[in-house]
Structures are given as structure tokens and as C-alpha cells.
């Protein structure tokens, strides 16, 4: 288990698939995310070699989650918008050292553990 309590999931998908990313992530407890428009670049030769077309318009979805639900969300993203889907998504996580502004998260997490104990 990582020493970090939160991780930020970065999911790069083709433009227009950010809703699918959020739907998949919300199923496993993500609360919200931020979408950034971006432009992908790919090696033109590699594109020919692997016979794929890279759509340059991308969206990066940034989701801050607790480390314990990170794996579930990554799996969900892989299934919903993985490279072999139209979304052609890549997802990875980066450890986060400290967080502010997520107070409802901790409050909710606490009430969840309370109810499961009861």
C-alpha cells in the first residue's frame, strides 16, 4: 500500500470522451473531475507501422481520488475508454503529497466507515 493517501488520475482520451471517463470513474466513488483540452502528437511513421490513426484532439481528465479506490477506477477506465475502445484512452496515476479543498471527501469517508462498523 502506498504511503500517499490521495492520488491524481490523469486520463488522456480522444475529444468528446470525457463524459464516459467521468461516468466510469463515478461508479467507483470519484466525486468530480476537471477536463483540460489538449492536442496529442504521435510519430507519423509509427502510426503507419501499427496501422492506427491518432486523433490529435484530446481531453485530459484529472480526477483526485483516495488511493484505496484508485485501482478500481483505473480498471473501470481501462474497460470503458481503454486503447482498444473508440476513446483510445491512457490512464495513469501520480501520488499526491498533500491536499486541501476536499473536506467533504474525508467527512463522507468517515461516515462510511462508521456505518460499516455498526
Amino acid at each position: 500500500m502506498s504511503k500517499y493517501k490521495h492520488e491524481v488520475i490523469l486520463c488522456i482520451v480522444n475529444s468528446g470522451f470525457s463524459d464516459e471517463v467521468m461516468d466510469a470513474a463515478k461508479e467507483f466513488g470519484a466525486k468530480g473531475g476537471t477536463v483540460i483540452r489538449a492536442r496529442g502528437t504521435a510519430n507519423a511513421e509509427a502510426e503507419k507501422l501499427f496501422n492506427i490513426a491518432i486523433q490529435p484532439e484530446k481531453e485530459i481528465v484529472m480526477i483526485l481520488v483516495e488511493s484505496k479506490i484508485k485501482n478500481d477506477i483505473l480498471h473501470a477506465l481501462y474497460r470503458a475508454v481503454g486503447l482498444n475502445t473508440p476513446g483510445q484512452g491512457i490512464a495513469f496515476t501520480v501520488p499526491v503529497e498533500s491536499v486541501v479543498g476536499l473536506t467533504d471527501f474525508s467527512a463522507e469517508a468517515k461516515s462510511n466507515t462508521d456505518s460499516s462498523e455498526a
Partner: protein
Amino acid sequence: MARFKISKAKDVKEEKTSMSSPKKLQLLITVVNKQKTEYFVDMLYNFEINLQTVLSGHGTADDHIKSLLGLTDNEKSIIISAIRRDRANEALAFLDEKFRTVKGGKGIAFTLPVSSTIGVAIYQFLSNTFNGGQR
């Protein structure tokens, strides 16, 4: 509600005893409403931050009907700042307070570890240190 505590005493002590060692860097990512971008960018310069980059994005609207009617404003700015590790907790505590108290200033902020950087001048610029010592 758990308030954000200003750094663990241990961290601060470590930083003080190792004056000569290079200051660690972190990336501070702040997501705020677009109208508040300038405010937060200006405020963050007080924490020995020399480089900030602003990206624009949008929040994922929870309430679809509201957003269809244009009632919610989910335009966001993502502020990426390179900050010295020993100032990061201070900056986060400051941001936490502003997120609670400023009207329409709700946002999130977090720090990411930076494992390496290249170039002495760039490092000194990012960490706001000169001649390897305290400024």
C-alpha cells in the same frame, strides 16, 4: 470538518537543519473558478513561487439540466506552480483558508513530488535560491 494543519513540526526541523542541501521542489496544482484565476495567481507569488502556468479546463458538471440551462458556471483554471517544498504546506494552508472564506473561491489544491530537474539556473529560479544558500 478536518482543518488542514500547517506542516508537521518534524518536516520544518529537517528543512532547517539541512540549510546547505538543495531545497526540494514540488508542483502545486490549484483548480479554481476561472474568474478567480488572477486572484489566486497573484496570491501564490507570495510563497517564493517564480513560475506559474495556467491551463483552462472545465469541471464535470454534476447537474446536467442546470448546465444545459447555463445556470452553472463550470469554467475552471488549473494553476501549476513550482514551489519549494518547505513553503508548500504554508501555501496549502493559505489556499485552504481562501477556499473556505472567499465567495466563489471554492477550489482544490494538491502538491505532487518532483523527482528531478536539470540546469542550475533553472533550479535556482524555481526554488528561489541563489548561490546555493538562503536568499
